[in-house]
């Protein structure tokens, strides 16, 4: 995670376009200014950022399904559950399944686990729109390369 850049996902571990599923890895940094306030003397990964990690994971799946033609934006969060504390240094597994692909929106079931134990889960709705501009599309492609969303992965499925 690069919290200062709001990049919650480190790499894509598995992308299965046929099953509409993705698994990402996200390592909580051992140090961040966020932990100075959340909380002094007891650093915890904020729950809202866990939700964001699920949203970004879900977003990469939607980007891949749409072969980088469209951009997902978080629209709603339902049944978000934060089941346990997440500490600096923990390596999280973030998964998402595309439950429904509607016209201009997608519904996904996302989950975070640590050492095989459930950490958080939520049902997310993403609006799926055209990229607002070419620069954003290009930046998303660059970020995709950084986290291992390869062109081969975009082309199959």
């Amino acid at each position: 995670m690069r919290l200062e850049y709001f990049q919650l996902i480190d790499r894509i571990v598995e992308l299965n376009l046929a099953d509409r599923k993705i698994t990402c890895e996200a390592t909580v940094p051992t140090a961040s200014t966020i932990f100075e306030g959340h909380f002094p003397g007891y650093p915890l990964m904020p729950g809202v950022l866990l939700v964001e990690a699920m949203a970004q994971t879900s977003g990469w799946l939607v980007v891949a399904v749409n072969r980088f033609e469209r951009m997902p934006f978080l629209a709603s969060i339902k049944d978000a559950k934060l089941r346990t504390f997440v500490l600096p240094g923990q390596v999280l597994s973030v998964t998402s399944h595309l439950a429904h692909e509607g016209s201009g929106y997608a519904v996904l079931n996302a989950r975070i686990s640590f050492d095989g134990k459930a950490v958080a889960d939520a049902t997310l709705t993403l609006r799926v729109l055209d990229f607002p501009n070419a620069e954003m599309a290009e930046q998303m492609r660059k970020q995709a390369d950084t986290i291992g969303l390869k062109i081969e992965a975009r082309a199959d499925g």
Binding site: A75, S76, H100, E101, G102, S103, G104, Y105, V107, T125, R127
Partner: protein
């Protein structure tokens, strides 16, 4: 009243917490019931699931934006019911 209308009226009542008896076939989802675009996504999801279809919301929105259709054609519930029936029929064809 058609079962399609009953289904979508129940979906709207449950999704948007609108009293069921205030929803009629003549109701306009946006103008009369005050449903915004985000709530309509939830309704569309429930309709898609209930009928096994994909409401072409983007196409409809574009048609309205281009002046080729009015919102009444898609968002007055009796008309929405008719569009859903058409989509269901097309799926089975």
């Amino acid at each position: 009243m058609s079962s399609t209308f009953e289904t979508i009226a129940n979906i709207i009542a449950e999704t948007c917490d609108i009293p069921r008896d205030s929803i009629t076939a003549e109701s306009h989802a946006i103008n009369d019931l005050g449903i915004d675009s985000l709530d309509f996504l939830d309704i569309a999801f429930a309709i898609d699931k209930a009928f096994g279809i994909k409401l072409p919301l983007e196409q409809w929105t574009q048609e309205v934006s281009d002046g080729k259709a009015t919102t009444d054609q898609y968002f007055v519930l009796k008309n929405l019911s008719a569009r859903i029936d058409e989509l269901v029929a097309a799926k089975g064809a």
